[in-house]
């Protein structure tokens, strides 16, 4: 099944995609200095699936994620989170979207240093003035084994713990989609595995949708599907990937 089929409404796919992009382009600079970061990307991220985005440096994978998450505006084309077309939203609506429908995990500097772990996790809920689902919070933090660290500030935690707190924050609002931008890029291999296993579990057990940008084949192997970008174009993809298969593809792309 190709992505295009799903967009056109295949009867076998009852669930709509968590996010999709149609002919997305992004150009930086003008004249000779023009860089085509995205060149007509059309794809979708399935709901309840763990998708990895891979590609060599400069392939446009981060730009794709930023445009789809509403952090950057595409030069042309449209991006959707659920039903919402990102381009049509003003700053207020985008803020609302980020609060309720999207979760973020960055490579580093995920936490506000003045807040405790718990305050960092509930930040999106607090910003929205909402009420924290304590049971859900407990479930998530137990899974991440950070329940006993909730009163600590980021400076009192290890890098792996900090990144797990960031995972909990991304999950706390049960968003339609979590964007993870190289979430294990700064971690040792044990901590990486822990984070990746958790992301995998949250898809399998809670039905969470996740898009993860990475250049680590081992990490991408945790995903249900890997899409490959090169020179701003979607060039390939893999379903139920293995590390070896991913490395094979990457070699072909010259990454």
């Amino acid at each position: 099944m190709t992505m295009i089929d799903t967009i056109e409404g295949s009867p076998t796919s009852a669930r709509r995609p968590a996010a999709s992009a149609v002919d997305l382009t992004k150009t930086y600079g003008t004249g000779d200095a023009t860089v085509q970061a995205l060149d007509g990307v059309t794809l979708e991220f399935g709901a309840g699936r763990f998708t990895a985005v891979m590609g060599p440096s400069g392939s446009g994978k981060s730009t794709l994620m930023h445009c789809m998450a509403g952090l950057d505006t595409p030069t042309s084309g449209t991006a959707f989170i659920g039903d919402a077309e990102i381009g049509s939203l003003d700053d207020k609506a985008l803020t609302q979207l980020r609060r309720d429908k999207v979760g973020f995990i960055f490579q580093a500097f995920n936490l506000v240093p003045t807040l405790t772990a718990r305050e960092n996790i509930t930040l999106p809920v607090d910003l929205a003035g909402g009420k924290v689902d304590e049971d859900w919070l407990r479930q998530v933090t137990d899974q991440l084994r950070i329940t006993d660290r909730l009163g600590h500030r980021p400076s009192e935690m290890s890098g792996g713990q900090q990144q797990r707190v960031a995972c909990a924050r991304a999950l706390v609002t049960r968003p339609e989609l979590i964007f993870a931008d190289e979430p294990t890029g700064n971690l040792d291999s044990n901590s990486s595995t822990e984070v990746l296993e958790f992301l995998r579990r949250s898809v399998t057990e809670f039905g969470q949708s996740i898009v993860m940008v990475t250049h680590d084949a081992r990490g991408a192997a945790f995903a249900d599907r890997v899409v490959f970008l090169a020179d701003g174009r979607l060039v390939d993809e893999l379903e139920d990937p293995t590390s070896d298969a991913i490395l094979e593809k990457m070699k072909k792309l010259g990454g």
Partner: protein, 847 residues
């Protein structure tokens, strides 16, 4: 290293600009004040030289004493028979007698023309134009006793023309004259806002009660005559007590008298300029501390690649030097503009100054540059020393210098500063020695500034609690941010602390002064009504004696007591002596005696002294004091009693007959106290007002109204001081803006993250504003506490000077606190907007 520093400055233009702004403002104020006073000084000097340019000598009475050199001296008139003798001296080409006195015009609306403090001069119009400083521009000089000449300024401003009739208030009853001519004073249309009425010599002699005498004789010598010889010849015909002086000396005396009076004004302005520079120093200290912290990695990297400690230190100091220099140069330029603006402002208030070129003395540039660069460089020393302590390894660790907690050393040094400052204040207040008080306050502020990081965390936490509750997560984040770096919070707040401490000191001082003044009115005056001649805002001027007689004759008036005051030299200092009829005591005036019998002593020709003076000069009843009067020379008076300080009476008091025996008949009463047979009523007020209709310069007030006027005067003065302190507050706010901008810059990534996880722009703004409010209220709280302490100390030390009541105006303090919070909000608006506008993607990508 130099190029690196300059590049760094260019890269941070905004920060440099904000830092420099604090210094620019201070230097602008210093320069503006100096340029303005120099310009005024120069204008008056050249004006007086011009006025006396046709005259070679002046013959006048020798000053019995003078309160300042020259024109302030009290001189006796000389006999007009000297006119002929001087004219007959060989070499004298022309000579003329001059008489001066009080003459105030009444406008066409029937209201007295007031001057805002400048004198209302009556003088003679000389019959010899070659000697006269007055030049008719239309009409001619007065030729008989029903004519006068009016100055051009008054004529223009109040619509008088040649041939008009004008009423003039005089030492005697008011009189009406025909305007024979409009005259110029030298080349100016007026003299610093003063009004001028010129009469013929015989008329002036009669009006000013100096028949047969003249105040001075102006002399011009014949062409070719030797000056020294003529001066010598004139001196020979003069009796003792009369002197001949070169006209240039008289001009110098007069201009220096005006310049001395202006000196106070310029000193006051300079003090406020220095206060704002001091506050600016805190801002600079803070900015440099923060940027050194932010540049830890860069500075450590410099150390790794081989920069010595000295080079790091010099690079920070060089940055300060360049900023200070730039700011001071801009300040010098703006200061000149400010001087022009101030001149226009004074003009708008009716204080016209003689026109003259703007004087920019080299001294102004030197002082402006020295204080501007000095404050900047001194403030940067402590941050530069911190930069030196950065270890090269910090480049790899990414820790920030200067975020460590409170060092013991800092606490000890801060506490010593506070103790030292307190001691200086204590000694300064009891001495009293104003410069020591200033030094004490200065040290205290620095000490408190050093100690305040100790309380910054708990205070910010406490002050932020209501915000966190009211404003949710944004408020809480703002609170956390303000607690993040206690030293930064404290240093930012310190600038505002100084400003608010001074405001609070003034508030306590003013409220106490106001209360003391009103309560002392009821302690000093028993009369139902008080009549005084006041020009708006100015000190009370004298008024016609005839008014007192008019009031005394009104039905219902039981006693009208004019209060006279004159200058005399008691022991070795020139002071004011009040004259009072013994029968007034207890009826119109309240005299509380500490020792002796007041009425008896006054009637017996003895001197009364108030308690403050008696204590200060160790005077006792029965002691004999040498008193020198201008008119009658030295005499000896016995102290007959000591009275409690009385705001109407001043330090020394004599009976009316004693007063009259020693002062010229033309001395004017300053106040008229009126007792009536009934209570104060609207009818009585109307009666008095009607009775005084001929004296429109007199205002009649009931005692209650008089109290209110006293209070209003105090408040007006306070308003002026607050306005001047506003400059320091503005500088402190610039400091807050600067700190917030630097914090926003420093937390770019954090703000990006917050935005990414769903913080709205509004919430970002709220977060920054909350931090600003906490910062400023923190500064305000400490400032108000310190300021109230200073105010209480000040008022307590002035207990003997008539500060009988100590009032702490809590209402005002609360207002200050609220205002500080609002100002904090205002200061936050720009940084908040900038933070809210951060591009999320770029913010997150920031290293």
């Amino acid at each position: 290293m130099l190029r690196l520093t300059l590049k760094g400055l260019l890269a941070h233009k905004l920060r440099v600009a904000l830092t420099a702004l604090a210094i620019v403002l201070g230097v602008t104020f210093v320069t503006g004040t100096l340029v303005l006073t120099d310009t005024i000084n120069n204008s008056f000097t050249s004006l007086f030289s011009k006025i006396y340019s046709h005259v070679d000598f002046e013959v006048r009475g020798v000053a019995a004493f003078s309160d300042q050199q020259g024109a302030g001296a009290v001189r006796q008139p000389v006999s007009d028979t000297l006119l002929g003798k001087v004219a007959a001296v060989p070499g004298v080409a022309a000579s003329e007698g001059l008489v001066g006195g009080y003459a105030q015009f009444v406008g066409k609306d029937g209201k007295a023309i007031t001057t805002g403090g400048a004198p209302t001069l009556g003088t003679t119009f000389g019959s010899k134009p070659e000697l006269s400083a007055l030049h008719p521009i239309s009409g001619h000089g007065p030729t008989n006793s029903s004519q006068l000449a009016m100055d051009e300024g008054t004529a223009k401003k109040h619509g008088f023309n040649v041939g008009d009739r004008v009423t003039v208030l005089l030492p005697g009853p008011p009189a009406t004259f025909t305007i024979a001519g409009i005259v110029r004073f030298g080349s100016a249309d007026n003299l610093g806002g003063a009004t001028l009425a010129a009469f013929t010599l015989p008329t002036a002699q009669k009006l000013f009660h100096v028949e047969g005498r003249v105040d001075s004789i102006e002399v011009a010598i014949a062409p070719g005559a030797d000056k020294a010889t003529v001066e010598h010849s004139i001196a020979k015909v003069l009796p003792t007590g009369v002197e001949v002086v070169p006209a240039q000396k008289v001009a110098d005396e007069q201009s220096s008298a005006i310049n001395n009076a202006l000196g106070f004004f310029s000193t006051a302005l300079l003090v406020f300029a220095l206060i704002s520079l001091f506050v600016g120093g805190f801002t600079i200290l803070n900015t440099f501390s923060i940027t050194v912290g932010q540049r830890t990695r860069e500075l450590a990297l410099l150390r790794i690649v081989g920069a010595s400690r000295g080079q790091v230190f010099r690079s920070v100091m060089l940055e300060a030097l360049v900023i200070g220099l730039l700011a001071s140069i801009i300040g010098l330029g703006l200061g000149v503009a400010m001087a022009v603006g101030l001149e226009a402002l004074l003009d708008a208030f009716g204080i016209s100054l003689p026109k003259g070129a703007l004087i920019f003395a080299p001294r102004t540039a030197i002082v402006g540059l020295a204080v501007g660069v000095g404050v900047t460089v001194v403030s940067a020393v402590s941050p530069a020393r911190r930069a030196v302590r950065i270890a090269p390894i910090a480049a790899l660790q990414g820790v920030q210098a200067g975020t460590e907690g409170n060092s013991l050393r800092r606490t000890v040094v801060g506490a010593s500063f506070v103790l030292l400052g307190g001691a200086a204040l204590g000694v300064g207040l009891s001495a009293p020695q104003i410069s020591l008080v200033g030094l004490g306050a200065f040290l205290t502020f620095i000490g408190v500034g050093m100690l305040s990081p100790l309380v910054a965390r708990p205070m910010a936490s406490m002050l932020g609690r209501p915000l966190a509750r009211l404003r949710g997560i944004s408020g809480r984040l703002g609170r956390e941010n303000s607690m993040r770096s206690p030293r930064r919070t404290a240093q930012t707040a310190a600038a505002l602390m100084v400003g608010l401490a001074l405001v609070s000191t003034i508030a306590v001082f003013g409220a106490s002064l106001s209360r003391s003044a009103t309560s002392s009115v009821s302690d000093a005056i028993a009369a139902d009504y008080i009549a005084m001649a006041t020009s708006q805002g100015g000190p009370p001027t004298g008024f016609s004696e005839a008014a007192a007689k008019t009031v005394a004759a009104l039905p219902g008036v039981t006693l009208a007591s004019p209060i006279y005051a004159g200058q005399a030299k008691v022991a070795n200092s020139v002071t004011s002596i009040t004259g009072l009829a013994p029968k007034d005591v207890g009826v119109t005036i309240t005299l509380r005696m500490d020792q002796g019998d007041g009425t008896g002593a006054l009637a017996g020709g003895q001197l009364l002294v108030d308690t403050t003076t008696a204590t200060k000069d160790k005077l006792r009843v029965g002691q004999r004091l040498k008193v020198t009067f201008a008119e009658t020379g030295p005499t000896t008076l016995t102290i007959g009693g000591i009275y409690k300080p009385n705001i109407i009476l001043g330090s020394y008091l004599v009976g009316r007959s004693t007063f009259n025996a020693h002062f010229a008949a033309a001395t004017l009463p300053l106040a008229l106290l009126v007792s009536t047979s009934g209570v104060t009523s609207r009818e009585m007020t109307t009666e008095l007002t009607k009775g005084l209709a001929g004296y429109p310069n007199l205002t009649v007030q009931t005692r209650a109204e008089f109290e209110k006027t006293q209070e209003a005067q105090v408040n007006q003065l306070l308003g002026l001081v607050y306005a001047l302190l506003a400059l320091a507050i503005v500088v402190a706010l610039i400091g807050i803006v600067n700190t917030l901008m630097l914090s926003v810059f420093e937390r770019t990534r954090e703000i990006g993250l917050l935005r990414a996880v769903g913080m709205s722009r509004r919430q970002v703004r709220t977060m920054i504003r909350a931090e600003a409010v906490i910062l400023s209220v923190f500064g305000a709280v400490i400032g108000i506490v310190v300021g109230t302490g200073l105010g209480v100390a000040l008022v307590t030390s002035l207990k003997d000077q008539g500060f009988t009541d100590l009032v702490v105006p809590w209402g005002n303090m609360v207002t200050f606190l609220v205002l500080a919070g609002l100002l904090g909000l205002a200061a936050a608006s720009w940084p908040a907007r900038r933070a809210a506008r951060l591009n999320i993607l770029e913010a997150i990508a920031t290293e």
